[in-house]
């Protein structure tokens, strides 16, 4: 055997656990779900081919499909900018030379490593309208109580609040790493030229941070489209389907309503949406993301 061929073989052998894992546990189920999405399948027995029925049903016959998509888009529209701006501000604060900054950094990061179920349950208690912590504080300062999770109007903003708290620290950490990678000489040069704080932010920090921003943006959008656990624990999709997010709707169809075929079709539709949004971001990123190496 030639040396190069042997080397290649060894290489494949080394990556084979991942390769096999990917083929068996990811690609296999993925392709099967694509097949199932074109069939009627209740999880029992075998699927039978129904062509585009499931897709047609989602797009043209099910009000809940559009409702769940609308809820999810609302969540994405609130959650993504707030989490990006919030965590960027946090990161900039903690990038200053303040006393005890490592303690703060740890504190802000802790929610990211706490189990979501536990934090959500605590938030449910904080957000209770009758004796929840938040409303008690609001009333102390003379503001009216808000029916956080129990009204159709406030339910999604409340879940955004929970989600911000849960993921903010993680995004902050990534920003912090990005901020520390910025060459200090740039700021020093700006100081000499008399640049203001805002000028430094918009002309140095933001451009230098743009690759990190793009990364956080993409991760944020994908995870916001996939929002599930907080709603599943806190509201179960209610009240009146106000927090029935897309993935929750998919889950109910798959695991409560015996419609694995339809649920698979929903999954592929979501994949198409998220994929399109991500590609769009990469295309648009050429206009605003600056890579030092270029």
């Amino acid at each position: 055997m030639k040396a190069s061929r042997r080397q290649a073989l060894q290489g494949y052998l080394f990556i084979s656990p991942w390769l096999i894992g990917f083929l068996v546990f990811t690609l296999g189920p993925l392709l099967y779900s694509l097949y199932v999405s074109f069939s009627e399948y209740s999880l029992f027995g075998s699927p039978y081919w129904t062509g585009l029925d499931n897709y047609q049903r989602a797009l043209f016959e099910e009000p809940l499909f559009w409702k769940s998509l609308k809820n999810t888009l609302y969540f994405v529209a609130l959650n993504v900018p707030l989490s990006i701006i919030g965590s960027l501000l946090l990161a900039m604060l903690l990038n200053q030379n303040i006393r005890g900054k490592t303690v703060y950094r740890t504190m802000f990061y802790i929610p990211s490593i706490t189990p979501v179920v536990a934090t959500t349950l605590i938030w449910v208690w904080i957000l209770r309208s009758d004796f929840g912590l938040l409303n008690m504080m609001l009333e102390k300062i003379g503001l009216p109580a808000v029916p956080w999770l129990s009204s159709t109007r406030w339910a999604i903003p409340s879940l955004v609040l929970i989600s911000l708290w849960e993921i903010g620290g993680q995004r902050m950490l990534i920003f912090l790493a990005g901020l520390q990678g910025i060459n200090q000489e740039l700021y020093e040069a700006a100081d000499i030229d008399g640049g203001s704080v805002l000028q430094k932010f918009f002309h140095i920090t933001l451009p230098m941070l743009s690759p990190t921003l793009l990364f956080n943006l993409i991760i944020s959008i994908i995870s916001s489209f996939n929002v599930f656990t907080t709603a599943f624990i806190a509201t179960k999709g209610g009240p009146a389907n106000a927090t029935l997010f897309y993935v929750l709707y998919l889950f109910k169809n798959a695991f409560e309503w015996f419609q694995m075929g339809y649920a698979s079709a929903l999954a592929w539709l979501l994949f198409i949406v998220v994929f399109a949004v991500t590609v769009l971001q990469f295309v648009l990123s050429k206009r605003w993301v600056y890579y030092e190496s270029e």
Binding site: E61, D130, P147, P239, A240, W257, F258
Partner: protein
């Protein structure tokens, strides 16, 4: 060779042990049972010793699943072919749907083979357990649904409101609820409500029935929501929140607002008695009477039941049947009622003198005996869970005041019909 000898000897010893042990192990039938955890688990565990004493050749391996996860877990177990030999079932866990998919064993041959006497069992439970004429599950418990009014006697007396009686109507109930909705500490906020509005799933159905309405017709294929009686029922529920404001919003209530004295009355089922007794605030007296009569009289429900079913794929059906028979024995059923879980399907056990003094017991048994209940209506396609979800989410929109009753009813009606039209 010398070195090998000890190895060979030890191998031989191990083999000998295996050979000796294996027949004893293999002769035991291993039964895998899927059961709900916590309360039912305690009941079953108390009687396992007795079962083993009678059946030394059977070994039972339980998978205890919390109620909240039961449905999803069942589906996964069925789909993965690991459902085992016996399943605790309830119509609300898609019993009918599984039957339609051919996943259960017909129990009639076992009953016939043993001459198992079903005559003391409530026929309504057995009828409801028959899917297209075949009995796939034997119920051990039955209840007449949410069929009683729980009231806080202390709060009634404090407010000088007359105590509820078995001949109350919905109007009497509402009048009392208004009188009992109070700002007790004078801070301008209501802190005691007259009732916990009946808007959770089983109690919604009680209200529908009491108005003479329902959500599906008797064929199980058409929505019955847009009928006068059903609309009246929904209007009545909406008024409790939007007009009379006599109830807190359900998703916001503590686990048992009745037990904490946050509400003065609630509709409840048999199973609520034990829970309430455990949680009730000290110094508060409470009682249970027959539910008030709606415009159509006292018709409660839906009645429901728990029972045992044997999966069609089980390889140990005989052993599973033995466990069913054992758990349906008088001693086990007596203990079931004594634990305050629910009435049993065996009417003779329910009327045992020991139970007549239990709070609410006679009220519920009277409903069962007099048939003032309706078995859970089943859609013809058995999509009960999806149907329930459509009704509840639609009702929530109405009760929160997001949509007017007339529009809301049309929306639920359409949503329900969409589910019923599905295969």
């Amino acid at each position: 060779m010398k070195k090998r000898l000890p190895r060979l000897t030890s191998l031989a010893v191990v083999l000998l042990i295996l050979v000796c042990a294996f027949p004893a192990y293999a002769s035991k039938t291993k039964l895998q049972v899927i059961h709900r955890a916590v309360i039912h688990e305690e009941w079953v565990q108390r009687h396992l010793e007795g079962f083993y004493a009678e059946n030394p050749d059977i070994e039972v391996e339980f998978i205890w699943i919390p109620t909240g996860e039961y449905l999803q877990k069942l589906q996964v177990l069925f789909a993965s072919g690991t459902i085992g030999d016996l399943v605790e079932m309830n119509p609300s866990y898609n019993y009918g749907y599984f039957a339609k998919e051919g996943l259960w064993t017909d129990l009639e041959p076992f009953i016939a083979q043993d001459g198992f006497d079903l005559s003391p069992f409530y026929p309504t439970a057995l009828d409801a357990a028959r899917i297209n004429g075949t009995l796939y599950m034997i119920p051990f418990s039955i209840h007449p649904g949410v069929s009683a009014l729980f009231y806080n006697k202390t709060l009634f007396e404090k407010a000088g409101v007359e105590l509820p009686t078995a001949d109350w109507t919905y109007d009497d109930w509402l009048a009392a609820a208004k009188a009992l909705t109070l700002d007790t500490n004078g801070d301008g906020k209501i802190d005691q409500y007259g009732m916990q509005a009946p808007i959770t799933w089983p109690s919604i159905m009680t209200v529908f029935h009491s108005f003479g309405g329902g959500w599906i017709d008797e064929t199980g294929t058409k929505s019955a929501l847009n009928t006068e009686a059903s609309v009246d029922a929904i209007q009545w529920m909406a008024d409790l929140f939007l007009k009379h404001k006599v109830s807190p919003w359900s998703s916001e209530m503590v686990a048992s607002p009745f037990a904490t004295g946050q509400v003065a009355t609630m509709l409840g089922g048999y199973w609520d008695v034990a829970g309430t007794a455990n949680l009730m605030q000290e110094g508060m007296e409470w009682e249970v009477v027959t539910a008030p009569a709606g415009p159509a009289g006292v018709i409660t429900g839906p009645s429901s039941f728990d029972g045992y079913a044997i999966p069609a794929a089980s390889k140990n059906k005989e052993a599973a049947w033995k466990l069913i028979k054992y758990m349906l024995g008088d001693e086990r059923l007596y203990d079931y009622v004594a634990s305050g879980l629910n009435p049993t399907t065996n009417g003779e056990i329910n009327s045992h003198p020991d139970f007549q003094g239990l709070k609410g017991h006679t009220t519920f048994i009277k409903s069962l005996d007099e048939g003032n209940y309706i078995p859970t209506p089943m859609p013809a396609n058995f999509r009960a869970g999806e149907l329930r979800s459509a009704v509840i989410s639609g009702l929530e929109a109405i009760l929160l005041g997001d949509v007017p009753v007339s529009d809301g009813v049309k929306q639920i009606d359409a949503a329900v019909q969409r589910v019923l039209d599905r295969p």
